[in-house]
Structure formats: structure tokens, C-alpha cells
């Protein structure tokens, strides 16, 4: 504990010393006062530009594989979003709150139809900046499809499709049959034949030209659809219209044997 012993009659020297020090101190203080910027000591200044940090974020969204702009893509930065224009360009103004001064990462999400969404967490620079994105086209691209009609009442369908992720799980053939003017649609799963370079895949399916149902004879029409679905849930559907007498082949193992009831006979199982 502090114990202080006051001295009642112990000399004037410290007092004199202190007075001297005080006088010199006062002089120095006055000199400083005269010397310094007095507006700073009796004025005010609140000019701070820019104090709020509103920054502009802009850039383009491109297709990585096809090297073309992605139009109408949504770019979301934090709570704000913008759409890309015809040239794949976007622009948004963004407030940097105090939590960004704490190195808080912001969520970025770029999404467009048939593209794989891009997500990231970035710490933004406190200046205007350009952020460019490249999106991966996610949906399978159905290329060419052909039909070859055989005399034994079997038509062979072949399709070539492209998927950059190489994860097509299901390809379905939809055929339109007609009896008089009554249409009917039947779906057949296609089976995998081979994979080529750059994610190209070949699928094939045999189907009967005539189908009997409800005591009616249905015959195949010029229209058919190919539906491809991949692992990420992207679905592409494409319609083909080919005259029945146009027969050609996309790739070789297309000749069917007689056993149309077992279409996988002689081939590897399709990739499911």
C-alpha cells in the first residue's frame, strides 16, 4: 500500500524549481502554439474523399471451350447481381462495408443456362477492378444423328454427342409413330458404342419400324428426338426430321443381327 509522508516545513527549493520549470514549459507551449497551424487547434475539417468505398467491378463471361461470350449470365457478388450483355460483359457497383476492411471474403457466383455455375470466395481489392470469368458448358451437345431403315423392319439410330465433362449417363431416343393420324411416342434407351477424342461419344439404338398396339398398326415417322442427360443433371433435347428413305451411317458397327429383342447383344453395355 502506498504511504505518503507529507513534509510540512521542508524548504522552498522544489517549489522554486517547479515554478521555473513551469514558466519555461509555458513559454515553450506558447511558442508551439504560435508556430503551429491554429486552425487545427480551433477549427474543424471533415473532408474525406473517398470515404465510402463504392467500387466498380466489371469484366466478361466467356465460354471456356467454345471461346464465345456467354450472354445473359448472372454474376452475383455478395448480395448484388448483374447480367451479362450480348458481348458477355457485366458491370456492378459494390459497397465495401467495414467488414471488408477485415479481409472478409465475398462470395462470387456466375451462372448461365446449360453452363456449370462458377463459385468462388475472394477478398476484393479496395479499388475498381476487372474480374473475368470463363464458364464451362455443362450440358451435352448433341451433334449429328442418323437413321438407317433395314428391310427386316428394323431401323438403326446413331447419334454423336459431345460432353466436355465426359459424364453422359443416359441417352434416350424418342420416336414418333403414327397410325392414320393418331400419333404415339415411344422412348428407347440408347447404348454406348465408343468414345472418341475431345469428349465425343457415340450411341446407337435399333427400333422397329412398325408397332402394333390396341389392334392398330403404327408406323414410324420422319421425326425423332434425342435426349441426353449427364451426371450433373444437365439435359439436352434435340429434334431431328429426316425423310424415311434417307439412309446413311455415322459410324461402323451399325448392322443389326436378327435378334432385335436383345439389342445389346454383341456390344459392350452402355455406360450408365
Amino acid at each position: 500500500m502506498v504511504r505518503i509522508r507529507p513534509e510540512k516545513q521542508s524548504g522552498h527549493t522544489p517549489t522554486r524549481l517547479l515554478t521555473g520549470v513551469g514558466a519555461v514549459g509555458l513559454l515553450v507551449l506558447l511558442l508551439l502554439l504560435v508556430h503551429c497551424d491554429t486552425d487545427r487547434l480551433w477549427g474543424s475539417r471533415f473532408e474525406a474523399f473517398p470515404l465510402t468505398r463504392s467500387i466498380v467491378i466489371q469484366g466478361t463471361v466467356m465460354d471456356r471451350f467454345q471461346e464465345k461470350p456467354v450472354r445473359g449470365a448472372t454474376v452475383r457478388v455478395g448480395d448484388q447481381e448483374a447480367l451479362t450483355n450480348f458481348y458477355g460483359e457485366y458491370r456492378l457497383e459494390f459497397y465495401l462495408s467495414t467488414s471488408f476492411d477485415r479481409n472478409k471474403p465475398v462470395d462470387i457466383k456466375v451462372s448461365a443456362e446449360n453452363y456449370i455455375s462458377f463459385r468462388d470466395r475472394v477478398i476484393l481489392d479496395p479499388i475498381d477492378q476487372e474480374i473475368n470469368f470463363q464458364l464451362d458448358y455443362g450440358a451435352p451437345i448433341i451433334g449429328d444423328a442418323v437413321r438407317h431403315v433395314f428391310d427386316n423392319g428394323i431401323a438403326v439410330f446413331q447419334v454423336r454427342l459431345l460432353d466436355f465433362q465426359n459424364d453422359v449417363t443416359e441417352v434416350v431416343l424418342e420416336l414418333e409413330y403414327k397410325s392414320d393420324d393418331t400419333p404415339m411416342t415411344i422412348s428407347y434407351p440408347m447404348y454406348w458404342i465408343a468414345s472418341g477424342d475431345n469428349g465425343i461419344q457415340l450411341f446407337q439404338r435399333e427400333a422397329p419400324i412398325y408397332v402394333s398396339r390396341d389392334f392398330k398398326q403404327y408406323s414410324i415417322t420422319a421425326t425423332f428426338w434425342i435426349i441426353a442427360r449427364d451426371d450433373m443433371g444437365f439435359v439436352t433435347r434435340k429434334e431431328f426430321v429426316q425423310p424415311l428413305d434417307q439412309n446413311r451411317a455415322l459410324f461402323l458397327p451399325y448392322t443389326p443381327n436378327d435378334n432385335t429383342q436383345n439389342p445389346t447383344n454383341g456390344f459392350d453395355s452402355p455406360k450408365m
Binding site: M1, V2, R3, I4, R5, P6, E7, K8, Q9, S10, H12, P14, T15, L18, G22, R40, L41, W42, G43, S44, R45, F46, E47, A48, F49, P50, L51, T52, R53, V77, G78, D79, Q80, F94, Y95, L96, S97, T98, S99, D101, R102, N103, K104, P105, V106, R121, V122, I123, L124, D125, P126, I127
Partner: protein, 722 residues
């Protein structure tokens, strides 16, 4: 483990009850002129050596197993004349009046402490603890000490600083004075960072609750914290070493040396490093917690105090440096604070009771952070403050007095920030802000006795403050306080009432922001926030010279704070909320109770507060209920045990959602307990204190203010030589 400690502690309790015939001494220590209680005064018997310190109401009680008939009772209090009375003339229950230390035998009305301003302010609800209580609690983190106070909430973290909130206020509505230095100004948002104060340097810590303080409470809608550090005196050296969870290494040293008979100097040094684990909400949406274990914190603190007195004067100087280094991945910040203060008190040209105080502070924050692209953002924030204060007390009409105050504040802030890319440096922010203000204040204090009966005493305070800001504002506030004390044998009843208006001037960064906004939109300028506070309360104390307890005290207070012009700020990525039309009404009920020296060994203190906040956007994260329970047990032979239990009820947070709408989040209540077990002993001139403790450390380390608690265990030893 905590339960075991608790059980051991409780088993020790009845181990040795005091025989009823042991002489017991109890009474009050009060200021002779103001009749204010003097908490933390040393009371002891000079020959047998036994003694104690007074509590918050100035009450003391101790037993002396070996009382010598010709012993002397000594009462010491910093800044007062030591009182020595023969034990034979002392009567139990007597009020001992201390006179302020006089110069050359003259009577001086001013108490010679650096806290005059606080003592002379309006009589609001006060609670204080002194160094012994802090030592028994043993924490290295100052914010923890505030768990011993009722209605005080802890917030903040290492980086923002440890902050406190009183009665549901915000942290920037609590003024914190350390030896007269207002440390709020060091922070960007005017909230005081308490972590710059090493716990061991504190002599006394006082919390003044309520918005109605004239001299100290400008803008303090919650209240005022007044910290008095230990003053230089006789030769003493002490060393304190602690280690614990999160690789904590803590060291504190103090040496005080008298230079001759009139000059005293002391030095306090503190060093701490640890690796705290931090939990935070990365999404601001209170969904999932994330943990960061790669944090390193280092703090150091140096204080040099010089003290001298002349025949009619007293001089004091303080030099204080605080350093913080904080590192986490992608982040490195350093803070360097230097505070210098000097004060003079005494006679000026034959006129009495003058006090002059000046402090100058420099604060520099350097931050280097790395963005995702490996660019570096370097920011350099420098703050400077100057505060000068002149106080003069005038006594009139016998028992009445007026305390006059003139004050000047200068604040300036410069911010420079740049982005460093591998190719270039781009400045992003560069500005200098400053403002000045001055204030005149006066508190009149009238003291009256009812029909000349000294047991029935009126105290009436009338306070007023006029403040002028260089940017143009002029504001007048006024406060009224009434206390009525009735003393009847062993009872003391004090009903009190206070009412007043308080004004909080907008601080620099907000003024700058408003000015910037007004160039963009029709925002206009900021108005000061206004508070109208009223409080009615009752303090009751009873001494019980029974063998099982010595003193019982309780208080109840009902208060209402109406704040208008409250500023709301929230800048989100898409939304920017910044407007000033807020009105909030906080109503609260606070109840405390304390029982002293149960069986001569146990002190119990409990508190409960209920808050009703009408607009939680202005006052988020305030628990509606808060309760604390403190046990202090001293079983025998220097052993001591402190248990602090606390409960925080549901609180509410808010954010702005994507649609720009306010959304509130309810935060679950929690409860826990801190346990400290220690042993104090003495070997010749060396005193030792061993300690083991388990604490709950509060941390608001998220991107938003939010309290998280983590458990912290610590072992410590302290040595004194005197």
C-alpha cells in the same frame, strides 16, 4: 475440475469458525468535508498488524486475535492525512473522518486525488472495487474484472479492444478515465479499449452508472468508468508471472522508488503473448461457426509515473506506452499508443483548490492485409488528441460548494491507405480530419440536515454543461440529483433520484461520412444524439455485529433512458443504411444485494438487471436479463477462493437482408462460472501469492460484434518485496 474446486472450497468453509469473544472492530471511513465514503482505505492496528480495507461504502470490519491494549488504529487513504487513534478511544460503529492531505497544515477542501472530477460529480449509483479484490480474482484480462460489477456487459476482442457497456448502453456511450485521461478518444469509434490497462496497476476501479453526470459524463449515456492506478510511494518491487491456456505467457513487473522525501517515481512493465483460438461467423448470418487457430497476439505495456509535492501544491506526470501486435493468415497489424499526462493541484497565487490537467495522446495503427490476388493493402491510421482541463472548487455557505470545470479537446485523425500490386502502388484513401471542442461545466452541491439532525442529511446536486464545437454546434445540458440519507443505529437508508439531459456529439469519422454523403445525396449534417435519463433508487445497508455476518446491503434502481437522434449505420454490399432518426427507450430495473463476512470467512454479492429496449437496431446484443453471483471465501491461512457465476439471457442481433429489410436474430442465453483458488503468504519482507484459475473469456471476434465464450485456465505466482 471446477466442481472439485468448488467442493473443496465449501468443505473448507466451516473448518474454523471464529470464536465470538475475539475482538472485532468495525466502522466507517468517510471524507471529513464531503461525508462521502472512502472505499479501499487501509485500516489496521499498528502493533499487532491485523487489518483490512474498506468496502465500497467505506465500511470496514476485522478481527484481531492478539489485540494489544495500547495498540493504535491507523486509517490510511491515498491523498488523505493518515488518522491514528488510540484503540482505547475507538468505539465500534464509529465513523472515522479523514481530512484531505493538507499542505503546511492548512485545511484544503479538495481531496488530493486525481479523481476530483469524479468525486465532485452528481451523486449517481456507484460501485467500486480495489486492488485486493482484483488480485483475488487474478485475471490478466481487464474485461474480466468487470464481471464483478452488476449491470456491466463485456464486449470486443483483442483487435477492436476490450470494451464494456453499462446498463444496456453501447460501448461508445461509456466514458473511461484512467488517472484523469479520457481514453475513449484513442479509438476510431470512441469506444474505450480497456486492454491498454494492465490489471496489476489498478488501485481502484469505479463504475458510475447512469447518464446524468455533468463533469465526466459528456456523451456517456451508459455511465463512466474511473480507474485510479497505484501511486508511487515507499520502496516496493513486485513480479507477477502467469501461464495458461492458448500458450499464454504473461509477465508483469513493478518497481517504485522514493527519490528523497518529496519525489516518487514508479515503473510498471507488462508483456504478454498468446495464441488465441477464435471462433467467428463467416457469413454474418449466424449460421455456422468457423474457427481460426492461426492467430498470434503480443502485447507490451510500459508506464512511468512521477509524483512530487511542494508546500501548497502537488505535481504528477505519467508516461504510458502500449503496443499490440496481432497476426493471422493474410493479416498483420500493430498498434502503438503513447499517452502523456501531467497535472497540477493546489494553490495558485494564494487562491486555493485549483487543478490543471493536460494530456496528449498519440495512437498509430498499422495494418497490412493480403487480398486473394496476393496484393497488399497497407493502411496507416494516426490519431492525436489533446485534452486540457481546469478545475476550481469554491465552498460557500458553510456546507455548500461548487465545482467549476473548463475543458478543451482536440482530436485529429489521418488515414492513409494504399494498395500494393506487383506493378504499382495505388493510393485508395488519404485524408486528415480534425475537430475541436470546449466545454464549461459546474456542479453545485448543497448539503442540508433536517432540523439540524446529523442523521438525516440532504444532498442536492445541480449540474450544467455548455459545450461548443468548432464545427458549429453549441449545446447545453443540465442535471439534477438528490440524495437523502437516514442513519438509524445500525441501519442506513439512502433514497436517491436524478434526472437530466445528456448530449453526444458526433465523432470525427461520422461527421466525415455525413459530409461525404451530403455531396452525393441530400443527407445534410449530423445532429448530436440526445439522451434524457432519469433514475430513482434506494440503497440500504445494515451492520450486524452478529457472529455469523457483519454487514448486509442492498440496492434497487429503476431507470429510463430516452435517446433521440440516434444514428444507425450499416453498410452492406448492396445496401447502405445510414440515417439519423432513431428514437429508443431503454427501461431497466437493477437489484443488487451483498452480505459481508459470513462466519468471518465469506462475502457474497449478487446482482440482477432486467432491460427493456424498444428499438434493438440501435442497441443490439443486449441480453434482456443478466445476473451475477460472486462468492469470496477466505477459509484460513491466506487461502482464498473466488467464484463468479453469471447468466446472460436472450439477446437480439440484426442484419439487413438482400431485400434491404431488417432481420433480427435471437441469440441463445448462456451461463457459466469462473473459479479462482489462491494462497497468499509472507516470508520476511517478501509476500507471495499463488493462484490457479479457470475463466470464461468473452470474445467478439467475428466480423460482427457477437459474444463467444471460451474457457481459459491459468496458473500464476506473484512476489512482492517491500
Amino acid at each position: 475440475m471446477l466442481t472439485t474446486i468448488l467442493l473443496i472450497g465449501l468443505c473448507l468453509l466451516p473448518a474454523k469458525a471464529i470464536p465470538a469473544q475475539t475482538p472485532t472492530y468495525h466502522g466507517w471511513v468517510q471524507d471529513a468535508s464531503t461525508h462521502q465514503p472512502l472505499p479501499g482505505a487501509n485500516v489496521y492496528l499498528s502493533r499487532s498488524g491485523s487489518g483490512t480495507t474498506t468496502d465500497t461504502t467505506g465500511y470496514f470490519r476485522f478481527t484481531s486475535p492478539a489485540a494489544l491494549p495500547n495498540d493504535t488504529l491507523v486509517v490510511q487513504y491515498v491523498g488523505y492525512r493518515t488518522l491514528r487513534i488510540p484503540l482505547t478511544t475507538f468505539r465500534n460503529g464509529q465513523i472515522l473522518y479523514l481530512t484531505p492531505r493538507t499542505f503546511a497544515g492548512e485545511t484544503v477542501e479538495v481531496e488530493a486525488t486525481p479523481t476530483d472530477m469524479v468525486r465532485r460529480d452528481i451523486g449517481v449509483a456507484r460501485q467500486s472495487i480495489h486492488f485486493r479484490q482484483i488480485e483475488n480474482y487474478g485475471t490478466t484480462e481487464i474485461a474480466d474484472v468487470f464481471k464483478l460489477f452488476q449491470a456491466v456487459q463485456l464486449t470486443g476482442n483483442d483487435l477492436d479492444g476490450r470494451r464494456i457497456e453499462i446498463r444496456g448502453s453501447n460501448a461508445d456511450e461509456v466514458n473511461v478515465y484512467v488517472d484523469g485521461i479520457l481514453i475513449n478518444q484513442l479509438g476510431l469509434d470512441f469506444a474505450a479499449d480497456l486492454s491498454i490497462i494492465p490489471v496489476e496497476t489498478i488501485e481502484r476501479l469505479e463504475v458510475l452508472k447512469g447518464a446524468n453526470l455533468t463533469l465526466t459524463g459528456s456523451g456517456a449515456f451508459g455511465g463512466v468508468v474511473n480507474i485510479t492506478t497505484q501511486r508511487p510511494g515507499n520502496f516496493q518491487a513486485s513480479l507477477n508471472i502467469k501461464t495458461g491456456s492458448f500458450n499464454n505467457r504473461y509477465g508483469f513487473g513493478r518497481i517504485q522508488i522514493p527519490l528523497g522525501k518529496k519525489w516518487f517515481v514508479d515503473y510498471n512493465g507488462m508483456y504478454q503473448e498468446y495464441r488465441p483460438t477464435i471462433e467467428y461467423y463467416p457469413e454474418d448470418r449466424f449460421a455456422a461457426l468457423d474457427t481460426n487457430r492461426h492467430i498470434f497476439t503480443r502485447k507490451s505495456n510500459h508506464q512511468l509515473n512521477l509524483y512530487t509535492f511542494g508546500q501548497h501544491s502537488e505535481w504528477r506526470a505519467k508516461l504510458w506506452n502500449y503496443n499490440l501486435f496481432y497476426r493471422k493468415p493474410g493479416w498483420r497489424s500493430t498498434r502503438n499508443t503513447l499517452l502523456a499526462a501531467a497535472s497540477f493541484k493546489g494553490n495558485v497565487l494564494g487562491s486555493r483548490d485549483w487543478e490543471f490537467f493536460v494530456s496528449a495522446n498519440w495512437n498509430r495503427d498499422n495494418l497490412e492485409r493480403v487480398t486473394t490476388r496476393n496484393n497488399r493493402v497497407l493502411s496507416d491510421l494516426t490519431g492525436q488528441q489533446l485534452n486540457a482541463r481546469l478545475l476550481k472548487a469554491v465552498a460557500f455557505g458553510g456546507t455548500n460548494s461548487v465545482q467549476l470545470l473548463a475543458e478543451y479537446f482536440h482530436e485529429e485523425l489521418s488515414i492513409h491507405e494504399e494498395l500494393q500490386t506487383p506493378e504499382q502502388q495505388i493510393p485508395t484513401q488519404d485524408f486528415l480530419l480534425y475537430d475541436n471542442r470546449a466545454a464549461l461545466g459546474a456542479v453545485f452541491r448543497f448539503e442540508n440536515w433536517v432540523n439540524g439532525d446529523s442523521t438525516r442529511r440532504w444532498l442536492t446536486y445541480l449540474g450544467g454543461r455548455y459545450e461548443v464545437q468548432a464545427s458549429g454546434g453549441q449545446y447545453v445540458t443540465n442535471q439534477v440529483g438528490i440524495r437523502y440519507t437516514v442513519t438509524r443505529r445500525t441501519w442506513q437508508w439512502t433514497p436517491y433520484f436524478n434526472f437530466g439531459k445528456n448530449v453526444k456529439l458526433p465523432y470525427l469519422i461520422d461527421n466525415a461520412f455525413a459530409q461525404y454523403l451530403s455531396t452525393q445525396t441530400a443527407f445534410g449534417t449530423l445532429e448530436p444524439e440526445i439522451n434524457n435519463g432519469s433514475e430513482i433508487g434506494l440503497e440500504v445497508a445494515k451492520t450486524m455485529p452478529q457472529w455469523w455476518a457483519s454487514r448486509w446491503s442492498a440496492s434497487i434502481a429503476y431507470f429510463k433512458n430516452i435517446t433521440t437522434n440516434k444514428l444507425l449505420r450499416q453498410v452492406g454490399s448492396a445496401t447502405e443504411v445510414y440515417y439519423q432518426n432513431g428514437r429508443n427507450v431503454t427501461r431497466g430495473l437493477e437489484i443488487t444485494a451483498a452480505l459481508k463476512e459470513i462466519l468471518g470467512r465469506v462475502d457474497v454479492q449478487a446482482g440482477w438487471i432486467h432491460l427493456n429496449i424498444s428499438d434493438r437496431r440501435f442497441y443490439p446484443y443486449k441480453p434482456a436479463q443478466r445476473a451475477t453471483l460472486e462468492f469470496r471465501v477466505r477459509p484460513w491461512h491466506g487461502l482464498y477462493l473466488t467464484l463468479v457465476g453469471f447468466y446472460e439471457g436472450t439477446s437480439t442481433a440484426w442484419f439487413v437482408d438482400r431485400a434491404g429489410q431488417f432481420q433480427t436474430v435471437s441469440i441463445a442465453p448462456f451461463r457459466d462460472m469462473d473459479v479462482v483458488l489462491g494462497w497468499r503468504t509472507r516470508v520476511g519482507r517478501l509476500r507471495l501469492n499463488f493462484q490457479a484459475a479457470g475463466y470464461n473469456v468473452f470474445d467478439a471476434s467475428g466480423y460482427r460484434q457477437y459474444l463467444l465464450k471460451k474457457q481459459f485456465f491459468q496458473l500464476g505466482v506473484r512476489l512482492w518485496y517491500e
